[in-house]
C-alpha cells in the first residue's frame, strides 16, 4: 500500500516538474516512478513486495479476461442452439481464502466468470457453494476454480 502511494506521489511530482498537466503525462510519471521504486526496493523495507505486484496484477488480468471470453462463448453457444448441452448443479468448493475480504474477492471473481455463480458460504467459512452450468467435466472445473482462487489470493497476500 505504501508502495502505491509513493508511486502516485512520484507521478504527481513528475507532472509538477514537467509542467504538462495531462492524464497521459501522469501515466508517464507513474511509469518512471515505478522504475525508480524497483531500483530502490532492496534498500527500503517498506517497499518490500510492491514491484513484484504490478506484473502479477497484469498477468492476472490477462488470465481473467481469457477465462471471461472463453466461458461467455460457451454459454452463448448453449443459448442459441436449441438442445440443452448444459448440466447445471451446485458444487461445494473448499476455500483456502481465510479473511472476509479474501472470500468476498474470490466469490466475486467466481460470479463474474460465466458458467459459475457463487451461492453461499458455509457458516464456518470453509466452503463456498457454487452453482455451475457445465458439470460434464467436474474435475476440470474444480481445477480451474482452484487456479483462479490461487491467483487471486496471490494478489492480496
Amino acid at each position: 500500500m505504501t508502495g502505491a502511494i509513493w508511486n502516485l506521489l512520484l507521478g504527481l511530482a513528475w507532472v509538477l516538474l514537467s509542467g504538462d498537466f495531462t492524464g497521459l503525462n501522469l501515466l508517464v510519471g507513474m511509469v518512471f516512478g515505478y522504475i525508480a521504486l524497483v531500483l530502490i526496493e532492496p534498500q527500503v523495507s517498506a517497499l518490500k513486495g510492491y514491484p513484484a505486484r504490478i506484473p502479477r496484477i497484469i498477468r492476472f488480468l490477462g488470465f481473467f479476461l481469457k477465462e471471461l471470453v472463453q466461458a461467455n462463448l460457451r454459454v452463448a453457444f448453449d443459448i442459441v442452439t436449441p438442445p440443452w448441452h448444459m448440466q447445471p448443479g451446485v458444487i461445494a468448493m473448499p476455500l483456502s481464502a481465510r479473511t472476509e475480504m479474501e472470500i468476498t474477492m474470490v466469490a466475486n471473481l467466481i460470479s463474474l466468470t460465466p458458467g459459475t455463480l457463487s451461492l453461499d458460504v458455509s457458516d464456518d467459512r470453509k466452503v463456498l457453494y457454487i452453482h455451475a452450468m457445465f458439470l460434464d467435466d467436474e474435475e476440470e472445473l474444480r481445477r480451474n476454480l482452484k487456479e483462479m482462487e490461487h491467483r487471486a489470493l496471490e494478489l492480496f497476500r
Binding site: 471471461l68 454459454v75 452463448a76 440443452w84 466475486n108 467466481i110 463474474l112 451461492l119 452453482h131
Partner: protein, 134 residues
C-alpha cells in the same frame, strides 16, 4: 482501421446483450438465467464502453468509461449472487436436468444453518492458528 475496431467492439457488445436477453427467455430456471443476464450483459457493457472510449479519445470520456467498467465489474456479481441466493433459499425449483446439488443436504431450513460438510475430519486435523478469524 480504428473505425473497424470500434464497429467490431460495438457489434460484439450488443450481440452479447442480445444473447443475454435471449438467454433470459429461453433458460429453464432462476439460477441459469442469472448466469446469462449478468455475465453476458456485463461483457456487452464493457465492450461498448471501450468503443465509446476509443471513439471520443478524450481524457474525461475515457476516465468515465473506465469508471463505468469498474463499477459494473464490482456490482454485477454481487447482485447476481444476492438474487440467486435469495431465490435458492426461498425455494425456487432447480431445472429437472440439474445433475447434483451439494448444498441442499448441508442446509437446515429451520435454523438457516449452513454446514460445510468438512466439520468431522477437517476440524480434527487442523490446528487453530493465531491469525484465524472467528
Amino acid at each position: 482501421m480504428i473505425e473497424a475496431i470500434k464497429g467490431a467492439l460495438l457489434l460484439t457488445g450488443s450481440l452479447f446483450m442480445l444473447l443475454a436477453a435471449v438467454g433470459l427467455l429461453r433458460l429453464p430456471d432462476l439460477l441459469t438465467r442469472m448466469h446469462a443476464t449478468t455475465k453476458a450483459a456485463a461483457l456487452g457493457v464493457i465492450l461498448i464502453m471501450l468503443a465509446a472510449a476509443m471513439h471520443f479519445a478524450e481524457v474525461g470520456v475515457v476516465a468515465r468509461s473506465f469508471a463505468i467498467i469498474v463499477f459494473i465489474l464490482m456490482t454485477a456479481p454481487v447482485a447476481a449472487h444476492v438474487i440467486g441466493r435469495a431465490g435458492y433459499f426461498v425455494g425456487s425449483r432447480l431445472w429437472s436436468g440439474t445433475v447434483k446439488d451439494e448444498l441442499r443436504p448441508n442446509y437446515d431450513p429451520l435454523t438457516h444453518e449452513l454446514k460445510s460438510g468438512l466439520e468431522t475430519q477437517e476440524n480434527a486435523k487442523r490446528q487453530p492458528r493465531a491469525t484465524d478469524p472467528d
